[in-house]
């Protein structure tokens, strides 16, 4: 079909998101009185779902798939729509939908929610662009397009010191990282003389004196990626940002924004700096990722194990999961058949993670909506009053810990399998150790919800409201987390196909 429709329609998922955001902004500016939280949440949700359905349709129809004429390149090769792009666009769209729906209840008494919805949608647009970016220039622009709204979103509660502090730290670290990233790009440009991935790749094969320059540039690009994915050593913003930001924003950042960082990484490092060529030039970025992955997962999980606040624990756990996903890049080896498997597993993990982690943060959002505290003790005995939500939370926790019968089990174990297949036993072993630790702190949440008794009999009286939209989002995420186990086949197939297209 993509031959029938004009090529630009391939970008329609991104366009849909952007247009929805603009529309909200317009309505909000022209008729400030007409706006209602519900209607705008509805509109933005519809926009996100529309883009999701289009994406899914494309995937089913095989747009950009090798069978249908391969990837569609636009704008002089600066943009490229392929399975990888669609796969991640699907993640972004679904997370966005969940987040905006949840936000409806979260911001029920906020004076100006409109800004939130449009900012979210703009950030989502930027992610969608990241997914299709085929030039370092587009990558940087799209990255900023994701970052700038995110800063604002984190600091969205202007009167809340936590939110502001989080916003500041996120912004400062982010600005620094993007500067580093940009300088890295400039060095690569200096070394290769192009920004289009394909041309960069061919230039990398013939680097001579400038190998060092390109190497430094690549490492700096690694840094930029590490910032987006909240990986060591660019992770410092994450605990504070996730903790201080409004919970839906934390969900959005920790799921979608992280995935955005990974799509960049996957594409740039496979298409612009192919492993073989880079190694020939003495630039072993896989080693860099291996180190980063190892440190990241260990730091994230061990720090998460000793947190008192659930939200901050989730923040660290999300750092740990970044470490897992990085295995997808770290465990690559030149010309190995296992590459597709491991990178595909990483993608699948990010998809599943999109649901289970978003769900977890949305549960925290619900807790904040109820106005109960943030620590494990405050969550004690919640299951008595909110069994459904708590069951969903238990599902998220066990799935994050990688236990069946939930999707997190498959994605995590396939990731380890991939690492083992490529001979990275030590990485898989480290991952195993970490997931044991993670089992400990995830089960702490379940223990608080189901096993512990409330501190005071009146502790649970705060649960007076039933935030419907939040419930809907959480339950949907939970159902998705469960159903993705039996339905894992298509997911992993799509992911491996997408990965295969990169090598």
């Amino acid at each position: 079909m993509s031959n029938v429709a004009p090529a630009w329609t391939a970008l329609s998922p991104a366009l849909l998101l952007g247009l929805t955001g603009l529309a909200l902004l317009v309505v909000d500016t022209i008729r400030p009185n007409a706006r209602s939280n519900t209607s705008m949440a509805l509109v933005s949700a519809l926009g996100a779902l529309a883009s999701l359905s289009v994406t899914v349709w494309f995937v089913v129809a095989g747009t950009g798939h090798a069978d249908t004429g391969g990837a569609i390149t636009l704008l002089d090769g600066a943009v490229k729509v392929d399975t990888l792009a669609l796969f991640f666009t699907a993640i972004f769209a679904s997370v966005t939908a969940l987040v905006v729906v949840a936000a409806h209840d979260y911001f029920h008494d906020h004076p100006n929610p409109a800004a939130f919805y449009s900012l979210t949608l703009f950030a989502a647009t930027g992610m969608a662009l990241l997914a299709v970016a085929n030039s370092l220039a587009v990558v940087f622009v799209a990255l900023e397009m994701v970052s700038l709204p995110s800063y604002a979103l984190v600091a969205f509660l202007k009167k809340n010191r936590g939110s502001v502090e989080a916003g500041l730290k996120y912004f400062l670290v982010g600005a620094l990282s993007s500067a580093v990233f940009l300088f890295g790009i400039s060095l690569v440009y200096a070394a290769t003389g192009s920004l289009i991935f394909g041309e960069v790749a061919s230039a990398v094969e013939s680097l001579d004196a400038l190998a060092g320059v390109a190497g430094i540039g690549i490492v700096m690009i690694v840094g930029g990626v590490a910032f987006k994915t909240a990986s060591v050593p660019f992770h410092f913003w994450a605990p504070e940002a996730y903790e201080g930001a409004p919970a839906p924003v934390s969900a959005f950042l920790s799921s979608a924004s992280k995935a955005a960082g990974f799509v960049v990484a996957f594409r740039v490092f496979t298409e612009a700096f192919p492993l073989g060529a880079s190694l020939a030039a003495g630039i072993d970025w896989a080693l860099a990722f291996a180190v980063v992955a190892a440190v990241t997962m260990t730091l994230g999980n061990f720090a998460a194990a000793v947190q008192e606040e659930v939200k901050r624990m989730l923040a660290y756990s999300s750092i740990g999961h970044a470490g897992y996903a990085l295995i997808g890049l770290a465990a690559l080896s030149t010309g190995s058949a296992g590459n597709e498997a491991v990178m595909g597993a990483a993608m699948a993990h990010l998809l599943v993670y999109g649901f289970m982690n978003t769900g977890a943060f949305l549960f925290v959002a619900m807790a904040e909506r109820w106005g109960i505290g943030r620590t494990f003790e405050d969550y004690a005995g919640l299951a008595r009053r909110a069994p459904v939500a708590c069951t969903a939370m238990a599902v998220f926790m066990f799935s994050l810990a990688g236990l069946p019968p939930f999707a997190g089990f498959f994605s995590k174990y396939f990731l380890f399998m991939g690492a083992i297949e490529n001979g990275f036993l030590w990485l898989a072993g480290l991952g195993a150790v970490n997931s044991v630790v993670s089992l400990y702190y995830y089960s702490r949440v379940v223990r608080a919800l189901f096993l512990d008794d409330p501190a005071t009999p009146s502790a649970l009286d705060a649960l007076d409201v039933r935030p419907t939209a939040l419930y809907a989002a959480v339950v949907f995420a939970a159902v998705a987390t469960v159903l993705l186990l039996p339905g894992f086949g298509p997911v992993i197939d799509a992911a491996e196909a997408a990965a295969a297209a990169l090598f």
Partner: protein, 674 residues
């Protein structure tokens, strides 16, 4: 005509059904299900007689009846082996069991005991297990029923579970015998591993295979290339462990005196015909194997002789009626072991038979006395019961004369033959001779404590109110006593070897001919076959067989009479007094049973200490490591989280340092800075 052997399973199953009936419906039946038990044992008794008659008719039976586990490696089966030995044993067991059931009507029902269904269920199962053991055609089946017998003894000894004493005695009985059975079980497993079968009789039986292997015409597995004979000795000794436990031989005899906590009829059953007899019967059953290993035989003989003397000495100082009988039991089984060890297969079975009757008699008599004395067992509170309860007295006297080995009572003949065998075979076997000497020394001691008991109980003046006016006993007590009493007198005549030898009368050694398959039996299970296998040659004193017989008999009889006389002098007076003081220091040792119980208690406590140590180690070290790992990880987590200082400038610094570190690593790795 119908074949008696087809009913062999019924012999075993009838008491088992009485067990089921008593257990299930006992409380709805009259007498707590007693009649069921009586009927069942009576039935088994009649069937046994029929089976014995059939054997006498010249036939034998050795069939596999049920396959327990049909592996290719081994076939584990149940079956029945009916030869003269088992037929004889069947009759003894069923008869004694029947009489005990009847006696129980008087001892338990008339005394208004509670929990009678449990009691009769126990008796039924006990009898059934013993019968199953008797007919067993292979070692595994024998072991199984051997263990079941142990279970029943536990249940019956601990019958009065509401009191503190019986449960602990029951535990001790089971534990000590279990300890012996451990070796037995290892032996069974070893027999399977060695021969691939555990059948007692027939071509493929393990004694036959062992014989062949020793003859060099067969090949068997031995561990680590061990010599065949050595290995057989080891196996024999392992199985012997079970025998020593069940037959209460030194050093595993300590459970038996405690077992007196059980109801007296149970004691009669345990000691006369079932549990304790099982050990000796087992050796007799697989004698074809033991006969092959002289060392084992010597050990058996020595243990037997030692136990005979050792237990007898302890019997001398006991005050309770049943205690004396308990030690006499240990001692008498010592004689049987001595006989078996000395190659006196027939003598052992003979003594087993006579002892079954007169010991059952003595226990039931004691039971009758205990009824009369309102369950006071202290002999020093009795006296003068002779006039009050004549039937009990005269039967008890018969039993005592038999036990003391006084001519012409049953015990005399059997004990005399035991000692004779030990003597003639022991003259050139030092170890065996040692056994003989100790056995001989035990004779006067036995006579002494037996008649000390008789005189203290029945003679002299009543020493307590109850003794002056004892409670009368009914037919169901006197009946069994009469039967057993007459048996105690006449059983000896089934095997008057000495008379035959001295007077040259042919054919009055019925038991010899019976066990020699003269009327019928299974090849390889006959006494002369065992004699051929046996390592012993006979030696005689005084030139020839007859003098040896006479001398042996005269010596033992003389010693017995001496012992009796001493007891007469000391205790057959109006108001006897304790003479134990004369023993001096030995007295305490004897009272405390040579401190063997203390030793075992000490061992038990030490074991518990070791266990406590293990527990501490487990909780402290092993579990400590497990918990340690988790606390260490949490500690690490606490260190890691401190990196997040909250100061954004420090974040920038660490970020930069991290980036530089990456640059250095890759740069050095990739050699950019060259």
């Amino acid at each position: 005509m119908v074949d008696a052997f087809a009913y062999v399973p019924a012999v075993v199953l009838l008491p088992f059904f009485s067990f089921l009936v008593a257990l299930g419906a006992g409380k709805y039946l009259p007498k707590g299900g007693a009649f069921g038990g009586v009927a069942a044992t009576a039935g088994s008794f009649l069937l046994s007689l029929w089976v014995a008659a059939t054997v006498a008719g010249g036939r034998a039976y050795n069939e596999t009846l049920y396959t327990w586990a049909a592996g290719d490696q081994f076939e584990l089966t149940f079956g029945a082996l009916i030869d003269p030995l088992s037929a004889l044993m069947l009759v003894i067991v069923t008869l004694v069991a029947l009489l005990v059931h009847v006696f129980s009507l008087g001892y338990m029902n008339d005394e208004g005991e509670t929990g009678l269904p449990r009691y009769y269920a126990g008796l039924g199962l006990f009898t059934a297990s013993m019968l199953g053991f008797v007919v067993a055609d292979n070692l595994l089946m024998a072991f199984m029923f051997f263990e079941l017998v142990g279970l029943c003894s536990y249940l019956l000894i601990g019958f009065h579970f509401r009191e503190p004493g019986p449960p602990s005695a029951a535990k001790k009985a089971f534990l000590v015998t279990r300890f012996g059975d451990y070796f037995f079980l290892v032996g069974v497993v070893a027999v399977f591993a060695t021969f691939g079968t555990a059948a007692f009789a027939g071509e493929g039986s393990f004694p036959a295979l062992a014989e062949a292997a020793l003859a060099g015409s067969g090949d068997v597995w031995t561990p680590g290339g061990l010599g065949v004979e050595t290995w057989f000795t080891v196996v024999g000794l392992l199985v012997l462990g079970g025998v020593v436990g069940k037959s209460a031989q030194f050093p595993l005899h300590t459970w038996l005196p405690d077992a007196m906590e059980g109801p007296t009829p149970v004691s009669a059953l345990i000691h006369a015909a079932t549990m304790v007899a099982a050990g000796v019967y087992l050796v007799a059953r697989m004698y074809g194997f033991y006969a092959l290993t002289p060392t084992t035989l010597a050990v058996i003989a020595f243990i037997g002789g030692f136990t005979a003397l050792f237990a007898a000495t302890m019997g001398v100082v006991k005050d309770e009626l049943k205690q004396v009988l308990a030690y006499s039991t240990i001692s008498q089984y010592g004689y049987m072991m001595l006989a078996l060890g000395a190659g006196g297969y027939v003598a052992a079975v003979f003594h087993l038979t006579t002892h079954a009757f007169f010991k059952a008699l003595l226990f039931l008599g004691a039971g009758s006395v205990i009824i009369a004395m309102h369950h006071n067992e202290d002999m020093w509170d009795m006296g003068g019961l002779k006039a009050k309860m004549p039937v009990t007295y005269y039967t008890f006297l018969a039993g005592s004369l038999a036990l003391a080995g006084i001519f012409p009572f049953a015990g005399f003949w059997s004990k005399d033959e035991v000692l004779y065998e030990a003597l003639v075979h022991g003259l050139n076997e030092p170890l065996l001779l040692g056994g003989y000497v100790m056995g001989l020394l035990a004779v006067p001691v036995t006579a002494f404590y037996t008649f000390r008991m008789v005189f203290l109980t029945f003679h002299g003046e009543p020493r307590s109110a109850t003794a002056r006016d004892p409670e009368p006993v009914r037919w169901n007590v006197k009946g069994p006593l009469t039967v057993l009493g007459s048996l105690a007198v006449v059983t000896g005549f089934i095997n008057m070897v000495p008379v035959q030898k001295v007077l040259g009368l042919e054919g009055i050694d019925y038991l010899h001919r019976w066990l020699d398959n003269e009327w019928g039996g299974i090849d390889g299970l006959s006494s002369h076959h065992y004699a051929d296998l046996g390592p012993y040659s006979s030696g005689y004193i005084g030139g020839g067989e007859v003098p040896t017989v006479l001398v042996g008999a005269a010596v033992s009889l003389g010693l017995a009479l001496a012992g009796l006389g001493l007891a007469w002098r000391l205790y057959n007076v109006a108001s006897p007094t304790e003479h134990t003081a004369k023993l001096g220091g030995i007295k305490d040792v004897l009272y405390n049973n040579y401190y063997l119980d203390e030793l075992q208690v000490w061992i038990a406590y030490r074991t518990e200490d070791v266990a406590g140590g293990a527990d501490t180690f487990d909780q402290g070290i092993i579990d400590g490591v497990v918990n340690g790992v988790s606390s260490v990880s949490l500690l690490g987590g606490n260190r890691v989280r401190r990196i997040q200082t909250g100061l954004v400038t420090q974040y920038a610094t660490m970020l930069t340092l991290g980036l530089i570190a990456l640059l250095v690593v890759l740069g050095v790795n990739g050699g950019w800075f060259l």
